[in-house]
């Protein structure tokens, strides 16, 4: 089975996030990027599938700071092909990224495409369904387990309330990964260093960015202090009395 895992990098929230002077985007001066956690799980799931049923795993990412290290680490985990999309991604959104991935995947013709179900900076939908639309493939999201079966897979999809559905999906298909069957594995740094000397990252220039269909941001801002909260003060008994009074006033008691 040929498995492709298109991944994206997102702002690392360990660093302070600031808004740039335009007020519509993040200030990228101090921004550090990190692999989207769900995409990390998608890579792990692909490797687990390969270990279970054989196959070839390709990991695809748009060029950014830290992407090479991530691709090499993926190779150390067991990925066979590393592809980096190159070009100007300064105005990228998920619509454009999905189109760029689709152009490449149309050539690669994978049987199964795994990608993170979401990312914290998804402003215009998540990549998975957009990609499926561009490729004319079925999509199942919130997947937390995959069993391969010849020309199809059984995807375990998570619903709220602890419900799980097993869905048979005909290949080729795109699956949005909620969690890999096991947490992403640790690779010793010496192993990554070794792979850096042997693995090769293929580069694939993009034709251009087509961002149409996406959103346009009119204002981006930090959470603002409002006056909606009332602090009750006094002894616990006083506070309880006041609280009961408020509940009565609101008609909930």
């Amino acid at each position: 089975m040929k498995i492709a895992v298109p991944v994206k990098f997102v702002p690392d929230l360990v660093e302070e996030i600031t808004i740039d002077p335009s007020g519509t985007a993040l200030d990228t001066t101090w921004l550090r990027l990190i692999i989207n956690e769900f995409d990390d799980h998608a890579v792990e799931q692909a490797i687990l599938l390969k270990e279970k049923a054989g196959g070839q795993v390709s990991v695809l990412a748009a060029e950014a700071e830290g992407v090479d290290d991530f691709l090499f680490a993926s190779a150390a985990k067991g990925a066979d092909q590393l592809v980096k999309l190159t070009g100007d991604f300064s105005t990228v959104n998920n619509h454009a990224l999905a189109r760029a991935f689709a152009d490449l995947l149309k050539k690669g013709k994978p049987d199964l495409i795994l990608t993170g179900v979401q990312a914290h900076n998804d402003l215009d939908g998540s990549v998975g369904p957009l990609l499926a639309e561009n490729l004319g493939m079925p999509y199942v999201g919130y997947v937390a387990g995959i069993t391969p079966a010849s020309d199809k897979v059984i995807a375990r999809k998570e619903y709220s309330g602890g419900l799980v559905a097993e869905i048979e999906v005909k290949l080729p298909a795109v699956l949005g990964i909620q969690a890999a069957e096991k947490p992403p594995r640790y690779i010793a740094y010496s192993k990554i260093r070794q792979v850096m000397g042997t693995a090769k990252i293929e580069t694939s220039p993009i034709a251009g960015l087509d961002t149409s269909g996406g959103t346009s941001v009119s204002r981006m801002f930090q959470p603002e202090v409002t006056q909606r909260a009332t602090m009750l003060e006094g002894s616990p008994v006083d506070i309880a009395d006041k609280l009961v009074g408020i509940f009565k006033e609101l008609g909930v008691l």
């Binding site: 360990v14 660093e15 990190i34 947490p183 594995r185 640790y186 010793a188 740094y189 010496s190 192993k191």
Partner: protein, 401 residues
């Protein structure tokens, strides 16, 4: 039917033991008497499927691959007690246990809890996963201002390697600030690296991540080379051990002392400054990598004894036979794992010893310890009155700075 006696082909056991022979004093492992002292003195030896002596036995029986399949070796806190009491002077912690952990890590046999600390170190240069840019945020408000070398570029007498927990851990920052104030009072010309400082990597190394340790050493070395200083002092025994014993092997060699050594040398200058009485019975906990591994036992006690009002008492485990707080060798990042395995903590054991010694204060000199011991105090009723203090905090309190 023919029976083949011990295979002469290269086995996992043989390949492994040859790699141990290559380490410093590694060949001493051949002199193991199988006396079992190491397994007996090991604080978790009773639980390990393969305590140190049994690992050596497994290698000799050519079944080392079985050791790699177990996970109880991750209970090893690299406290060096096994090596300290080995009658054959085998470097059990430094060579055998650490090499075994390296093999387990390469094989992917590693608890998830530990994984995130290592990933954080790789990405952020500290196991806590904090922003490298905030490494010197603890200095805010200290007067005179702490000299950040990247900013001032002034030559200094002392480069203070602060370390991960001393820089970031909210509990430890009070001890770190106390030491900065002491240096200011003593008029020491010192500087710190701030965001240019990386984890010393020693606990990661002892948890089997040698490659990561080397990367940290290289990054710190780049920062050291940029500035002029006479010596390095550090508040972290793990950094002290790395800088003293491990970095020189990688070609990174600077004179280094633990802060208690640095201060003990200035005792005559410090004594008149210790004005405020601290009326307390104080038990001192020897950190593994200050005491047992590097032989610094007296200086911390000398400093504590100089504080007026202090009565020093000893716990049953002390000096060479000190008991690990549980944080070494990756234990700092395996709390849940250790609890799941044995339902007890070494820090709790230690706190009970302090109570038995009728101590009011348990004094420490390692940034791993206050958070660990304070957590233990919360779970042991008899210890509810016990206070945990860094030596620097007690000195600063007595100096009233």
């Amino acid at each position: 039917m023919e029976i083949t006696l011990s295979p002469l082909s290269s086995s996992v056991s043989k390949v492994f033991i040859n790699s141990v022979y290559e380490l410093k004093d590694g060949e001493r492992i051949k002199t193991c008497l199988q006396c079992g002292t190491c397994s007996g003195v090991c604080p978790f030896g009773y639980f390990m499927k393969f305590p140190p002596g049994k690992i050596i036995g497994a290698i000799r029986a050519d079944i080392f691959d079985q050791v790699l399949k177990t996970d109880t070796l991750w209970m090893c806190v690299s406290c060096n007690a096994c090596a300290a009491f080995c009658p054959s002077n085998i470097p059990i912690t430094a060579a055998l246990m650490t090499r075994t952990k390296e093999e387990m890590l390469l094989a992917g046999n590693i608890p998830t809890e530990l994984q995130s600390a290592l990933e954080n170190t790789q990405r952020y240069g500290n196991p806590l996963g904090e922003s490298p840019r905030k490494r010197s945020d603890w200095t805010i408000g200290i007067q005179p201002e702490v000299n950040l070398l990247a900013k001032t570029r002034q030559p200094v007498d002392v480069l203070w390697y602060v370390g991960d927990y001393a820089s970031y851990h909210l509990r430890m920052q009070s001890a770190t600030k106390a030491f900065a104030k002491i240096l200011n009072v003593l008029g020491v010309k010192f500087g710190i690296l701030g965001p240019e400082e990386y984890s010393d990597g020693d606990s990661q190394r002892l948890a089997g991540e040698r490659g990561l340790f080397e990367m940290m050493a290289q990054k710190n070395s780049q920062a050291f080379r940029k500035y002029k200083f006479q010596e390095i002092i550090t508040t972290d025994p793990h950094a002290f051990n790395a800088l003293k014993n491990e970095y020189p092997v990688l070609g990174v060699s600077y004179p280094v002392r633990h802060y208690t050594q640095f201060l003990a040398e200035r005792l005559e200058q410090i004594k008149p400054l210790l004005k405020k009485e601290i009326k307390a019975r104080i038990a001192y906990h020897d950190p593994c990598y200050l005491g047992r591994v590097n032989g610094v036992f007296d200086e911390p006690r000398t400093l504590l004894a100089a504080i007026p009002g202090v009565e020093l008492v000893e716990m049953s485990h002390q000096r060479l036979n000190s008991l690990c707080c549980g944080g070494g060798g990756g234990g700092m990042w395996l709390d849940g794992f250790q609890w799941e395995k044995v339902h007890t903590r070494l820090s709790e054991w230690r706190v009970r010893e302090a109570v038995a010694a009728k101590a009011d204060i348990l004094a420490v000199a390692c940034p791993y310890e206050p958070p660990r011991f304070e957590d233990a105090v919360k779970t042991i009723q008899a210890a509810s009155q016990l206070k945990i203090k860094e030596i620097a905090e007690l000195l600063a309190e007595s100096m009233d700075v």
